[in-house]
């Protein structure tokens, strides 16, 4: 086939994919379904024929392990929540620090950061601790729109926070860049941005109304500090052990490590928690995310198969760097809003590949970009985490007014992320500390 014919065929395949996605949206299908239609369209346009089924099957397993991490980490967090552990922790914080406004804000920020950091999904932060933290913030006199903005932004940061950053893991898996050295390049900016977010948005907070807060957050009956603490100690042990005894400790993998923690948490609270129900509800909660990981795998497979990924990559690698820098702050969140993780795959992989072969530190770039990706979870058409936050907090105003409330932290995150991307090599020292 001539070069021109190949260009033509690839562009047509790309148009068919976009068209299938748009048609799906017109029929008000879910984003996962629209992406699936794009996959099928792209496969047919690429001439897969019967082999399309093989591509669907093979692509779907690409991120299987990430799906399992989601499931078992979330079962673990939900058992903690069901047992009353979340309420227990927040009540303790309120009880001890109710008269220290800034410390309260910072501690509540940490509470939001943990579940997302451990599971790699900001939605888990919202689901597991969102309600409880919202009650505490409400008792500090903050409006619902401000609370929504705080929880959304910090939950987004939590998804990027180490140890589990799905965008970085997926990109590394496809670019043969080690998923190593991310801890500090992620943690430091996330802590700084998290502090900025809670202190800026929480600037109008008052000293907490202790009675109101303790009334709004139900007291877990008969729960001891141990039954909350031990599962987390087990988790820390299981995450640390392979690094302490690298050649002696069996390879458990993250899904099994979280499954063990879930079992420990359940064993300590078996009277309070029905594990089958929690598992069933967790899987139901996570189904959109699990379907997304399957479909994103298919999308990557098909776009690689039909050359559309190559075409986009070629545009990116042959574009002047300055153009790339200018469009990134927009294209990264928008692609996340359109395709969720698929956006990272389509744009992130070629970008990282190109920068890496130009001698730019890919770990810092990827850390910087993964601050921007979660912002897209607030953007339509998916707005997955944005909508989830608004409904968890119970904010009744327009979605636009919620986004407007996010604007200052949004810009701060964009600026920090882009500084990391553009000055990656000057920031390489961040990797040394971790």
């Amino acid at each position: 086939m001539s070069a021109d014919a190949i260009y033509m065929q690839t562009i047509i395949a790309g148009i068919v994919m976009v068209g299938a996605y748009v048609v799906g949206k017109l029929f008000k299908f879910s984003t996962e379904m629209c992406m699936f239609l794009a996959v099928v369209g792209g496969g047919i346009a690429g001439g897969a024929g019967f082999d399309l089924f093989r591509h669907l099957a093979e692509g779907s397993v690409t991120y299987l392990d990430i799906g399992l991490i989601f499931v078992f980490a979330t079962i673990f967090m939900n058992i903690i929540k069901e047992s009353g552990g979340t309420n227990y922790i927040v009540r303790k914080i309120v009880g001890a620090f109710y008269n220290k406004k800034i410390l309260m804000l910072i501690l509540l920020m940490c509470v939001i950061l943990v579940p997302g950091a451990l599971t790699g999904a900001g939605s888990i932060s919202v689901l597991v601790v969102g309600g409880t933290v919202a009650a505490a913030l409400g008792a500090m006199g903050l409006s619902k729109v401000t609370i929504s903005a705080i929880i959304f932004i910090v939950a987004g940061l939590s998804a990027a926070a180490p140890p589990i950053n799905i965008w970085a893991m997926m990109t590394c898996a496809n670019t043969a860049i080690p998923y190593v050295g991310f801890t500090m390049p992620l943690l430091i900016p996330i802590i700084i941005l998290g502090l900025f977010t809670v202190l800026f948005l929480g600037r109008k907070a008052k000293v907490i109304d202790r009675e109101k807060a303790l009334k709004d957050i139900p007291e877990p009956k008969g729960l001891s500090g141990w039954s909350v603490g031990i599962p987390f100690l087990v988790l820390i042990f299981l995450l640390a052990a392979p690094r302490i005894w690298p050649f002696g400790f069996p390879v458990l993998g993250l899904p099994l490590a979280f499954a063990i923690c879930a079992l420990v948490a359940w064993a300590m609270n078996y009277k309070r928690v029905n594990i089958l129900k929690v598992s069933k509800d967790t899987v139901s909660q996570l189904t959109p995310l699990l379907a997304t990981t399957a479909v994103v795998g298919m999308l990557v497979q098909i776009m690689s198969f039909n050359g559309v990924k190559g075409l986009i990559s070629m545009w990116i690698v042959t574009a002047p760097l300055i153009v790339v820098w200018i469009i990134l702050p927009f294209i990264i969140p928008i692609s996340e809003g359109l395709l969720t993780y698929g956006g990272a795959m389509v744009i992130g992989i070629p970008l990282i590949w190109m920068l890496n072969s130009n001698g730019i530190n890919p770990v810092i770039v990827l850390a910087g970009l993964s601050l921007l990706w979660p912002l897209g979870d607030g953007l339509p058409p998916t707005a997955l985490i944005g909508r989830l936050t608004v409904s968890t907090v119970g904010y009744k105003g327009s979605y636009g007014s919620f986004l407007k409330e996010c604007i200052v932290p949004w810009i701060a995150i964009t600026v920090v992320g882009m500084i990391m991307v553009i000055f990656a090599n000057n920031l390489s020292f961040l990797m040394m500390v971790g």
């Binding site: 397993v61 993998g253 699990l290």
Partner: protein
């Protein structure tokens, strides 16, 4: 097959079980499709096809 690998097949089967349970219970077509999509990779792994 190692013991840990067997545990992973058990864990996969557990998630498949939960998905099917939810699939049977749901009334909503959008959810049914999402369950099917989520099931695909897990079933392929359980059948040791990929």
């Amino acid at each position: 097959m190692t013991f840990i690998m067997i545990l992973y097949y058990v864990m996969t089967a557990y998630v498949v079980g939960m998905l099917i349970w939810n699939f049977i219970k749901t009334k909503d077509i959008k959810s049914e499709i999402l369950y099917a999509l989520a099931l695909l990779p897990l079933i392929l792994r359980l059948l040791r096809m990929k």
